[in-house]
């Protein structure tokens, strides 16, 4: 019981302070609670830049997710099924950007993107998000396709199905829960990505994490709290969904790619 209480305090303590801050219109030391509460900052936020950050962030996340799926599904299928040479090497290449410290990788990408005139632009941010998103997606989806036994497709091919038909009617439907799980991971990653977005996108592309950073640096703690709360909503919703679709066998397949 004490443990539950402690866990609740640890989890909800900081959260509750965010909630209180979001409604505080006046709160000075040494008062334990705000001297004045109201919807002033909520109203301010919902009228201003915040909404742009919200819509831009979602738009980027949606585009990143779609592009990643389009690239990853065929790629992961091929990696899982066909005897391609240098398979570990190909998988390793996708892991490479994560192997180095994030900041130098992003700084270098930024200079590169500015050189091709994509700095501070929507597609530049999409590209930098996909560097990270592809890692999750390729590794998880390869594992997902591996978890569909090959004989299931052989049985279809044996009865006259083309390679594409067997993929479409057997492997794809069976991999769907895993693809959904992987899609949610990519979407969340893109929505929460901060470093790359800040470096590549500033000052013109604004997403929620960047917006939150800017406002909290400007000591507008109320606005930062509200954006933090808003940023949490899609995360919680999607994680609940993820929990439904993620199967433990996908995780166990990771080692066998």
């Amino acid at each position: 019981m004490a443990g539950v209480v402690a866990a609740a305090v640890i989890i909800f303590g900081p959260l509750s302070s965010l909630v209180i801050w979001s409604f505080a219109e006046k709160w000075y030391w040494p008062h334990l609670f705000p001297q004045q509460v109201g919807f002033f900052y909520w109203a301010k936020v919902l009228q201003g830049d915040m909404l742009r950050a919200l819509t831009d962030g979602f738009l980027i996340a949606i585009v990143v997710t779609i592009l990643t799926l389009v690239i990853t599904i065929p790629l992961a299928y091929v990696l899982a099924r066909l005897p391609i040479p240098f398979k570990p090497l190909i998988l390793m290449v996708f892991l490479l950007p994560q192997a180095f410290p994030q900041l130098p990788v992003f700084v270098n990408s930024t200079t590169l993107l500015y050189r091709v005139n994509q700095g501070g632009k929507f597609w530049g941010v999409v590209l930098i998000h996909m560097v990270g998103a592809l890692v999750f997606a390729v590794w998880t989806m390869t594992a997902v396709f591996k978890s569909v036994p090959e004989t299931l497709e052989e049985a279809a091919i044996n009865l006259g199905a083309s390679r594409f038909k067997s993929f479409y009617s057997v492997s794809l439907p069976l991999a769907t829960p895993g693809i959904i799980a992987s899609t949610l991971l990519v979407f969340l990653y893109s929505l929460d990505e901060f470093t790359g977005t800040l470096l590549v996108g500033s000052p013109f592309v604004l997403t929620l994490p960047v917006y939150m950073y800017r406002t909290s640096v400007g000591y507008e703690l109320q606005v930062a709290s509200i954006s933090a709360l808003l940023l949490m909503v899609p995360g919680i919703v999607l994680l609940v969904l993820l929990e439904r679709y993620m199967k433990s066998e996908y995780l166990s397949m990771f080692g066998r790619i």
């Binding site: 049985a155 279809a156 091919i157 009865l159 006259g160 199905a161 069976l174």
Partner: protein, 346 residues
């Protein structure tokens, strides 16, 4: 009804030669079992016929047509897999109808044919096959559905890759008999891969014995069992004893004892005899014509249900002998019919 023929097929994986030039004709309308230990190349041979494996060398014929270069989709074989390979996201009906839908057959005819074949394989209650998924069925029932899925497209050849080995003994025995009946009833050419010698003997018209990528012996189940041509064949078919021997004209020295011998082997040899062919008798028994007799000491007996298995020391080897009666430890005579004793030169 087509005849299947393979000519000198070879397949190498890296450094492993899975098939070292197999040539064979599978009779039309007959059930042929390919029997051998794991890794002998039997599954590779089956998959070469199905087209899942491209052979490095040699040719494959279905009927009169060469299919060596054809992809599996266009060979017209149907396969039953060890793990059933039913599609868990489709209903039982959907699984069986899959092959027919690929052929763009009208839905009404598909229905008729699917229900007919499900009846043929005795799936039982047909009323809910359009709503239930394969996972709702037992292993044996699932394999019946898989068999129906293969038969419904009326394939030229039915290929079965250890279809019963995932099932428990009782279901296996029963399905074995039903498979045999169905195959005779339809008259389809069937090739059946198994490592279980009893299954091969029970099911097949012809048994093909394979070892290390080669076909070792081909014959009726009776031939294969009673006249094994090599030490491997004799050893693989049944619980056998192998004894070192020294063969000469008219006699054979086994574990220091001399017995009569009329075969062709000379010099170092191996004598193989099945546990079930050895009678354990009193030490006073005298040698009879047509029987090979050895003297030994019974050390231990195990009760296996259908019979006792006796462990008898003969010289420095232990010989197994099965008999319906228990027997106290001590000196015994082992009596075996000489036509059941195989001697192979080394």
């Amino acid at each position: 009804m087509v005849e299947v023929r393979v000519e000198n097929v070879r397949k190498t994986y890296g450094k492993v030669e899975a098939l070292k030039g197999a040539s064979l004709t599978f009779a039309s309308g007959a059930m042929t079992a390919i029997l051998g230990p794991s890794g002998c190349g039997k599954t590779t041979l089956l998959r070469s016929i199905a087209g899942f494996i491209q052979v490095d060398e040699g040719r494959v014929f279905l009927g009169g047509d060469e299919v060596t270069q054809l992809p599996p989709q266009r060979r017209g074989t149907a396969m039953v897999f060890q793990n059933y390979a039913l599609w868990p996201h489709m209903t039982i009906f959907g699984n069986v109808a899959y092959g027919l839908r690929l052929q763009k057959i009208p839905e009404g005819e598909i229905r008729r044919r699917v229900l007919k074949v499900l009846e043929l394989v005795e799936i039982g209650n047909l009323s809910d096959v359009e709503t239930r998924k394969p996972a709702a069925l037992s292993g044996g029932q699932q394999q019946r559905v898989a068999l129906a899925r293969a038969l419904v497209v009326e394939p030229k050849v039915l290929l079965m890759d250890e279809p019963l080995s995932n099932l428990d003994a009782k279901v296996r025995q029963r399905l074995r008999a039903e498979l045999r009946r169905l195959q005779k009833q339809i008259g389809i050419t069937a090739i059946y891969v198994t490592h279980d010698q009893e299954e091969a003997l029970a099911l097949a018209d012809t048994v093909v014995l394979m070892d290390q990528g080669r076909i070792v012996q081909t014959g009726t189940p009776q031939d294969i069992y009673l006249k094994p041509e090599t030490a491997f064949a004799a050893e693989f078919l049944g619980v056998s004893n192998q004894l070192e021997a020294e063969a000469a004209d008219g006699r054979l020295v086994v574990a220091g004892q001399t017995v009569a011998y009329a075969g062709p082997a000379r010099g170092k040899a191996v004598m193989i005899v099945r546990a079930s062919d050895i009678h354990v008798e009193d030490p006073a028994t005298v040698a009879r014509p047509g029987m090979v007799t050895l003297t030994g000491a019974l050390e231990e007996s195990l009760f296996l249900g259908a019979h006792y298995r006796h462990y008898i020391r003969v010289g420095d080897v232990i010989v197994m002998a099965d008999s319906p009666d228990p027997r106290p430890a001590g000196a015994v005579r082992l009596v075996m019919p000489s036509d059941r004793v195989q001697v192979y030169g080394k």
